[in-house]
């Protein structure tokens, strides 16, 4: 049985660490990780709770396969109520933290209340302590990681931490584990900071057991073979990582640029995955050093890169910032898009530096880049001036300005404090809310909904605000996985989006990486679960669980006031046609797709989850 069936509940107000049994009845309905923690959230945190109050609770949770030998089985999620969106937040991360949690004997760590002083949590198998963090409060994630390893004299300690933005209320602060893997979106790091928790340091030595070891070995080996033989997971992702998409999306005219004013970026090839392979003039080395994998991963899409030693961004960095001068994690497509084409910056090293800063200090690069891009548009229109920016000439394409803004948000100082509130609040404050490319207050990812119609519906209905990882119909509409559909057509996209949303909810609840879904279906996941866990885990049952999770999240959002009323796109997407590429003349067909989506979900025409649907799903 690959669940430990144990939860560590940490009450920060009282200063207590209390073991409790995992609710196995809920496991039957919601599986684990995203689904299960959302169930805990809905039962324990009223939807109207202030996300940054002690009454909010944060759940760090593994899935049933986390810590096993299944491919990519190192995942964990952070679930809480988001301060950025007011909706459910669920951010998923890889690295080695999740498997360490399971090996320490815990399926889930719950942080509730608020510590009266800065603390970190130390967990060594059964022993859990709340310890003072005065010496690391105000430090970066990287400094915190180094300090904790030295203090505990354990090189194998696994650490998840926040940086300065999480302490100071930047609304899209991330939790970074293993130096450069992120529970990145929706401000989960901000919630952790609001509880005065700097880090969680884990050490586990118990291992993970499975229900039927022989069957598990056979089924996970077969599943790994599928990943190895698949051209995407076996060749494409290891070679070029997520950044391989930059040129594809740009060539098809769906690459957002200049705060989504444009859908083609002239500098795309300079900041693409292919560009990361080109030797630079200064030292003859390419940006990319090698690929990297998380725990048990047989795909290894991660990027380990260096910044050009002569690049302006690192000329005045001292030894404390040695990681700027060495290999570190990045550049990934979502960071490259948001910090690059959306701000008009085509300087690969500037983007690599900005991504390193996001890892160093715990920031979501999507929300950061998108907020800077919105500010750039307002600067060029004269809505804000250098008086607002603290002297920064915030024009599109200005790499130094993008970096200055990134550093200010990372320090949560000056103009960075304002940018740190996210695009929706920034644009509203300056009287131009329509320039914020957000849904439910969360910034768009890298796909223009005018050129990839299914993604517009996905952004509008995503339970955690605009997101590509809730229903990645790009796979079908652009990449032909599992079948090719026309990206410019709205017909059939409601059903397609629902299928992706439900299946992704399952992948996010198992403890494995969603990238396996480029090669695996639920037919491949079910036997791995079945061998690892008690119970009868069929693809059909998993599909129903995915639908149940989606509806549970929706019900929570409805009660939080961000249900159907928030299912909308910024007017730029629905009234300003794309000007270039195959989508020229097109706007998002959300108005056509949304009623179909509601109907196919079994919801009311107004977008409410009906009593009949709730009954059918046991909600």
């Amino acid at each position: 049985m690959s669940w430990t069936k144990k939860v560590l509940r940490i009450n920060l107000t009282k200063g207590t660490c209390t073991p409790e049994p995992l609710n196995m009845e809920w496991v039957e309905q919601f599986l684990g990780q995203r689904g299960l923690a959302t169930k805990y959230l809905t039962e324990e945190v009223p939807p109207t709770t202030d996300a940054l109050s002690p009454e909010n609770t944060m759940y760090m949770i593994t899935g049933p396969l986390t810590g096993t030998m299944a491919s990519t089985a190192g995942r964990y999620s952070v679930v809480t109520k988001s301060p950025l969106t007011g909706a459910v937040a669920c951010s998923n991360s890889g690295g080695f933290f999740g498997n360490e949690m399971k090996c320490a004997g815990w399926d889930m760590i719950i942080l509730e209340g608020k510590s009266p002083m800065p603390v970190y949590i130390s967990i060594n198998d059964d022993k859990a302590e709340i310890l003072p963090a005065d010496e690391i409060w105000g430090k970066s994630v990287w400094e915190t990681d180094e300090w904790l390893h030295a203090k505990h004299q354990d090189p194998q300690l696994r650490i998840a931490a926040i940086g300065v933005p999480g302490e100071k209320g930047v609304l899209y602060a991330a939790i970074i584990n293993d130096l450069h893997r992120a529970a990145g979106r929706s401000g989960v790091g901000t919630v952790m900071g609001s509880k005065n928790v700097k880090a969680i340091a884990l050490r586990g030595s118990k291992g993970v057991t499975v229900n039927d070891p022989k069957a598990f070995f056979e089924t996970t080996t077969a599943a790994k073979k599928i990943l190895a033989e698949n051209a995407v997971t076996g060749e494409g992702l290891p070679a070029l990582g997520t950044q391989v998409l930059m040129n594809v999306i740009n060539e098809m005219g769906a690459q957002p640029a200049h705060n989504y004013k444009d859908s083609v970026f002239a500098g795309a090839s300079k900041i693409s995955g292919e560009a990361m392979l080109e030797p630079r003039e200064s030292d003859g080395k390419p940006n990319l050093t090698r690929n990297a994998g998380c725990f048990a991963c047989t795909i290894s899409c991660g990027r380990i890169s260096t910044i050009d030693p002569q690049h302006f961004s690192i000329q005045n960095k001292d030894d404390l910032h040695h990681s700027y001068h060495a290999n570190s994690g990045g550049l990934e497509y979502e960071a490259a898009w948001a910090l690059g084409s959306d701000t008009g910056v085509d300087d690969l090293d500037a983007l690599t530096y900005a991504q390193f800063v996001c890892n160093e200090q715990g920031l979501d690069p999507i929300s950061l880049g998108s907020t800077i891009a919105a500010a750039m548009e307002m600067f060029e229109e004269g809505v804000i001036t250098t008086k607002d920016t603290g002297g920064i000439e915030l024009n599109f394409g200005n790499a130094k300005a993008m970096i200055e803004c990134t550093e200010l948000v990372a320090k949560a100082e000056g103009f960075g404090l304002e940018l740190g509130q996210g695009s929706a609040r920034f644009c509203a404050k300056h009287g131009r809310p329509e320039l914020s490319m957000t849904v439910r207050g969360q910034e768009f990812p890298a796909y223009d909904p005018r050129g990839i119609q299914g993604m517009g519906l996905g952004y509008a209905t995503s339970n955690r605000g605009a997101c590509h990882l809730r229903g990645y119909t790009v796979a079908s509409e652009v990449l032909g996985i599992p079948i090719k559909t026309d990206p410019l057509e709205t017909e059939g996209k409601a059903g397609l989006q629902i299928a992706f949303q439900n299946a992704t909810a399952v992948f996010d609840s198992v403890g494995i990486c969603v990238f396996t879904s480029f090669a695996w279906s639920l037919e491949d996941v079910a036997p791995q679960l079945d061998a690892a866990c008690e119970g009868d885990w069929t693809p059909e049952r998993l599909g129903e669980i995915g639908e149940r999770i989606w509806n549970l999240e929706r019900l929570y959002n409805e009660a939080a006031g961000v249900g159907a009323s928030a299912d909308k796109l910024p007017p730029r997407m629905t009234t300003e046609p794309a000007t270039t590429g195959p989508a020229a003349g097109k706007v998002s067909g959300l108005a056509t797709m949304l009623p179909e989506y509601y109907a196919e979900r079994g919801w009311s025409p107004e977008g409410g989850v009906t009593a009949e649907t709730k009954t059918r799903l046991g909600l």
Partner: protein, 85 residues
């Protein structure tokens, strides 16, 4: 003879001519009847590796590639199976 642009990405970059630019593209001369299928064979592109083909940004189905005739100024991009997120 007129010209169009061919772009090769990801692992297909190894089929780029030596004089191609950093934007992965090079000029290719066509006649009034040059098809995508002819171009693929002429450039010795591996058919079993080609997955995404975009003609001026629009996806070309595998079934229609061989017969599709190229025009002056077209841009034709090739990728192996790729994905990300």
């Amino acid at each position: 003879m007129s010209k169009m642009t061919v772009k090769l990405f990801a692992s297909l970059m190894e089929y780029l001519p030596v004089n191609s630019t950093k934007s992965h593209g090079f000029d290719y001369k066509i006649t009034d009847s040059t098809t995508v299928g002819y171009l693929i064979d002429d450039l010795k592109l591996p058919r079993n590796v080609i997955h995404i083909v975009l003609l001026n940004g629009v996806y070309l189905d595998a079934e229609t590639r061989d017969e599709t005739v190229l025009s002056e100024g077209d841009t034709l991009g090739f990728w192996p199976p790729v994905a990300g997120g």
